[in-house]
Structures are given as C-alpha cells and as structure tokens.
Amino acid sequence: MTDPAGVTEPSVTILDVGHGLCVLLTSEAEVTLIDTGAGSTVLDQLRSLSRTTVRRVLISHADRDHVGALLTLLSDDSFEVQEIWLNSDAFKESALWAALIYEIDDVERAADTQVQFGVRERQGFSTGPFDVEILAPRLRLAGLGAGSRDTDGRRLETNSLSVVARVHAHGSPLALLPGDIDEVGLAHLLDQTPAPDLYAPILVFPHHGGHVSRASNASANADFASRFVSLVRPTTVIFSIGRGQHGTPRKEIIDAIRNTVPGINILCTQLSMLCSSAPVGAGNVAHLLQAASRGRHVRAWCAGTIIIDHHEGSWRVRPSRAFHQAFIAANASTALCTGQLSTTS
C-alpha cells in the first residue's frame, strides 16, 4: 500500500533532521518514533502522512538534536503522543531538560500520555511488524546516571547512557540504532557473558560519525568505528548528519569502516562539507524521496531522508545505491564514501 508521501508501509524512515536523529517506524496501525530531532521536520513528515497520533516516542538520550521536537509534538494540539520512553538526565543540557519535563508534566495531566522513565536493557516493545529490543543502557549505568563514575573510574557522560535499540522486522534483525553511544557505553554493553548479539544489516552509526567522545582523537575514532562495524556486521551504514556541523562524518571513521567491510554501502542524509565545498545544484533531486527533509530548503542534501521499506519479499534501502552514487558522481567531487577524497594524510 502506498500513501501520499510515496512510502510503502511498513517502513523505517531515517529522517533528514540535519545534525540529530529521528527514526520513524511506520506501519498501517501506528507510528513509533525513536528520537525526534529538533525543529519541525518530524512534524512536517507526520502531517504529510496524516498521522496525528504517535503511538510511542523512545528517546535515546536528552540531547537537543535528538529530543527537541518532542516538546512541540506535545505542545502542539494537532498531535497526540500516547507513550513516552526516556531516561531522566539533566546533566548535559539542563535547560532543555527542564523545558521538556515541564511540558511532559503538563501533557501527562491533561491528556492520557503514559510516561516511562528508567529505559534500559532487556525492555522492548512491538510496533506493527517491528519488534524493538533495547540493549542499553545497562541497569547499573541507568542507575548511576550521567555525571557519575563507573568502577573503573570512567566518567559516565550523557552519551554513555544512550539507549541502543535493535529493530527486528518479521523476526529478523533489521537495523541497529545505537543513539550516540560512546566507548564507555559500549564497554559496559559488551561486558557480559554471553556477549550480546549486535548483528543488523543496517546500522545508523553512533554520534553522527563525529568524535566518539570529547577526548577522542583520530586513531581512537577509527578504532571504535572498525570495532563497531565488526560487531554489527552491517551491509549498509547510515550517517544522520548536518552539513557544516561539527565536521561530520569524520574521514577516519569512514575510512575505517570501508577498510573493515570493503564494498559496504554508506549513506549520509546531508552532504558533508568534506565531500563537496559547494552547495547542491537545485535541480539534482532525482534520487530524493517524497518526505520531509531539513536539508532540502538549504540545498544541503545528499541521500536526504532515507527510507527502508519492504519490497518484493525483502527490505530495501532507498534511495538505492545506483541513484545515490549517480548523485554523488555529479555533485560530490570529493565524496568520502567512495574514497574520492585524497587518501594522503
């Protein structure tokens, strides 16, 4: 079944929200959001899909660019949010957190919204054909909270407590959404017997392909990247980035991924400054999907909003590799994903 936005349901949509993240799990019956980005992109998308009810919003961590739009979803009368799953965290962006909490409080009283704090491993839910398995944060991390230290003396940042969600479709793993998890969070995730299975054909790379943590350097980033893709073994890696923001995705991360899994399919929502210093030519839209996309208005798109839908028995990623590569050939002379950027260091 197709709907006006050109998307076949059920689908997993990685929305182009610039630097941030917003994933929609859409099925005929309901829509669930994992992170919402900031601004109005997810609102525009929901409106165009005529989806005024959001079954559930799962928040990976309380960063503005992951949770900002939740606030408007709650305050704007044209939407109804039935459930919110998030972890309390005033550590990194306390002003934003306060704003959000006040809004949630209002809505919880006025409407029937269920709010669940304490999101952690071994929880999960189903939405349409998707089963979402929550792999992190661990109980001990969730309990300690951001700002405290683990037994190895490592500081727990907001990113360390990021929710890691694995989306299964029809019983098989489909996509891994690790939020902005960093090395500390990953270490805790892996510190169990047996080691958790992180396999998924599609990976949305953590932290927009930026520095893994504040103190990271290029080699630490590359290390993390190759370890991560070795654990997840995806065939497609997606970066949800904002053009010109924070220098993402970092070249060493892309290189490490391409070295670890040669031939892997890499897509970024927006066009990194490293891939092309000039903005996109206005007419280069053949590959873009009919979906809300923040990069559209400012000519910053690469793959744009990415949709994973079911077609003829299998899950496909759109825009397709062919379309995407055609766009890159014409518009991104120094594209990182195809290694056209000079490799001299």
């Binding site: 992109t41 305050s75 704007d76 009368d77």
Partner: protein, 221 residues
Amino acid sequence: MLTIDSATISTVGVIDDNPEARQSYEWTLQDANVETIGEAGPLGELQEFVGRAVNRLDAVLCDHHLRIRNYSTFDGAQLAAALYEASIPAVLCTRWEDAHLDLIRPYRDRVPALIQWEDLDPDTFVDALALTIREIKGEFSEQRRTWRTQVHIADVGVDEQNEFFYVDLPGWTSDKVIRLRKADLGAELANQLKVDARWHARVNIGTEDAWELYFRDWEPR
C-alpha cells in the same frame, strides 16, 4: 504577465520613497515579465492607499524605509501586512539590520516574504511572490508554518530603555536567544512577563533563521 498557481500577475506596484530606487526596482521587475507602476508619493493614509490598490495592482514590491523623504507616514512592513489582509500579495524589501528586524517582526505573520535588495532579481521576486500568494490561500511552507511550542522567557527589561524581553525556543533547532519588543505584546501581556517563565505561542520553528521567526497567539503562564 505571470501565472503563479491560478493567480495572474500583470501589474506590480513599486513603492520606495526614492524615485531613483523606484526606477531601479521597476527595471528589475520588468525583466520578470510584469508591468510596473512606480507609486509617486505622498502615499496618504494607509487604509486609503490599500483601498486604491485593490483592483489596480495585482502585487506589490515595497521597500521598508519609506519615511526618509516626504513620502509616507507608515513603514513598508505595515503596508505589506495591510495589503496581505486585503489579499494583495506584497514582497518586502530591505537590508538586514537587526535593529529594524525588531520592528518588522510583529508584521511577519502577514509578510511571508522579506528579501534583501542585494538578493533581489526576477527569479527571487517570483519565488517570493509565489510564497506569498500561496500563504494568502492558506498554504504554508515548512519555514513559515507555525506550531504551538514552548517559549522560555530568558530575560526581561535588562536593556537601557526597558523595551525588550528575550526568549529562547527549546523546541527549535537553535538555542539562540531572540529579542522581542514588549510593546508588541501589548501592555496586558507584557506585564505578565517573568524571567524563567514558560509560555506558549505559535512559532514557525521550521525556519533556520532567527530573523524569520514570528510569534502569534501568545499564552502566558
């Protein structure tokens, strides 16, 4: 003559207090295939002028600073807003100076298109006009549609003249603080302003530019 959606635009009025500037605007618009009428001043009363514009002008391009010469008692933003209310699409032209954007912002709900004259050419004019025509019909672009969202009052009256209050929008993509005039709220609302209060308003948080933000339907707390 232009056709935008189902609207036909053949005559565009050009409003600027400087005759040379008017002429320059006219030349630019003529290259977009419309006929232009430079409005010689003085313009007279606002509503009278709007009344005379209806049925005479299909669209208007007006500059914001109209009061320097003996031309008008109202600004371009006021005029554009009044024309909008009369369903005449008007494009406002000015130069980015934050001091003036303050004064223009309260009209922005009725002035969809604001261009810098540096950026004005036949194409951008047509785009701006199209945006305005659609909005008059009720079709809002993502950058112009308002959403009810939380407005955090960051500061009140800390400026020398106690004219301003400052807000930030937690739901927006930027944490930039925006300066607004107390006068634009009206006395009743302005008196309720308190630092750190969380109000709501309809704001076009789909825009990336702080100077494009406009606010309506204030709900104090």
